[in-house]
């Protein structure tokens, strides 16, 4: 029941910083770009580097993970999100 959207929306809000409107906009653009580019480019890139069999297995998995790696990375770098709200 809309779980995929729910989780992705949470990811966007957390990356941008909870309570920040600007953060939500930037976060959604980032998440959308990473997810879409991950799905299209990663598999092609991996095919260059790895045997085809491995690439077709690892490509989709890595593409699904990309958004979460982005979120973990952002939170390690900035534990309050990209645009922390003061006093929030």
């Amino acid at each position: 029941m809309g779980e995929n959207i729910l989780i992705l929306a949470f990811v966007v809000v957390v990356i941008g910083g909870i309570g920040s409107i600007r953060g939500a906009l930037i976060g959604s653009l980032l998440v959308g770009a990473v997810d879409t580019l991950g799905r299209t480019l990663l598999q092609h890139g991996l095919r260059e580097a790895l045997p085809a069999q491995w690439a077709s297995a690892a490509g989709p998995a890595l593409a699904s993970i990309a958004v979460y790696v982005l979120m973990a990375g952002v939170l390690v770098w900035r534990p309050q999100g990209l645009f922390p709200v003061r006093g929030g």
């Binding site: 779980e3 949470f10 297995a57 993970i65 979120m71 939170l75 534990p79």
Partner: protein, 310 residues
């Protein structure tokens, strides 16, 4: 008083296999084992959530890691229990140490989301490991051998092993709650800044609790793969973490028996309601709402006098 309750509960739990046999309902021993195993997992989350105040939406990842550690060993033909124990503890422990060390830099909702992020990474990783079932899951034909000819295929052996693990972890949790370290951890749950000002090594305490909870969840996972003979990536999915959270909150976060009460009530309700209607989740949802609205400290809180700290 509490000790008397614990002894009665233990005696009742030990009697379960014989009672079921007398009733000719051996099938239900599997459900009893499932409840015990989920109780272990919920108790480990209770330690994290109720005692240390860390809300994690990635706890199922450790259950799943433990299940895969044991499942992969079984698939490779290793049955000796010390190997399984070591592999489970190391896999879940190292993962918890790495994830904890990174996640504990954040707090509150950010902590929830970063634990979720790591759990989702492991979920998609499990999906992509084609050698061990991939998204179809891993079926194992053998079970952990305890010694000689005794292995966990015997439902009673499995039940008692799981019960022993649960009893041991509850005993340790009770000891922990009264100990110096335990009181320190509960203090940092209530006010982290004050605990730090008092000289408590907040980050180290939280990391230790995170690792211990992860290892215990891993052991629950290893037991579950031996119960079902099957593990799929869904064991790591975030909805599983959600179920564990519901169990702990339903039972009473921060109470010793919270995890057990929540797991037992939720699984039994599912079992009973699902026998009558296909839409069991609808009815259980109402029940959960009622508990959250009217019994704020969970089911275990109903049996405690008001004003007495859990």
């Amino acid at each position: 008083m509490t000790r008397a309750v614990a002894v009665v509960a233990l005696a009742a739990a030990i009697a379960v296999p014989w009672v079921l046999q007398a009733l000719g309902a051996d099938y239900y021993l599997g459900i009893a084992s499932r409840i015990v195993i989920f109780s272990i997992a919920a108790t480990s989350l209770n330690l994290l959530l109720g005692y240390a105040g860390m809300v994690s939406l990635g706890h199922a990842a450790f259950v799943g890691l433990g299940a895969y550690a044991s499942g992969v060993l079984l698939a490779e033909g290793v049955q000796a229990w010390p190997v399984h124990l070591l592999a489970t503890v190391l896999t879940a422990g190292i993962a918890a140490a790495v994830i904890g060390a990174i996640s504990l830099r954040t707090r509150g909702v950010y902590f929830i989301m970063i634990t979720l992020a790591f759990a989702q990474m492991l979920f998609y990783l499990a999906n992509s490991i084609k050698g061990y079932g991939g998204d179809e899951g891993l079926t194992v034909r053998t079970r952990i051998r305890i010694g000689g000819d005794v292995d966990l295929r015997d439902p009673r052996v499995l039940y008692f092993v799981a019960l022993a693990v649960l009893g041991l972890s509850l005993w340790l949790l009770a000891r922990f709650g009264q100990s110096r370290f335990g009181r320190g951890v509960q203090a940092l749950r209530d006010d982290e800044v004050r605990a730090e000002a008092l000289g408590l090594p907040v980050f180290a305490c939280k990391l230790v609790i995170f690792i211990v909870a992860g290892v215990l969840a891993g052991i629950a996972g290893a037991l579950s793969v031996n119960l079902q003979g099957y593990v799929s990536p869904n064991a790591l999915h975030w909805t599983q973490s959600g179920t564990l959270l519901v169990m702990v909150i339903l039972g009473g976060a921060g109470s010793l028996w919270g995890g057990v009460a929540g797991a037992a009530v939720l699984l039994l309700l599912q079992e009973i309601v699902a026998a009558h209607t296909e839409y069991w989740a609808f009815w259980i949802g109402w029940f959960l709402l009622a508990v959250v609205l009217f019994a704020r400290r969970g089911l275990a809180g109903l049996f405690q006098r008001r004003g007495v700290s859990p």
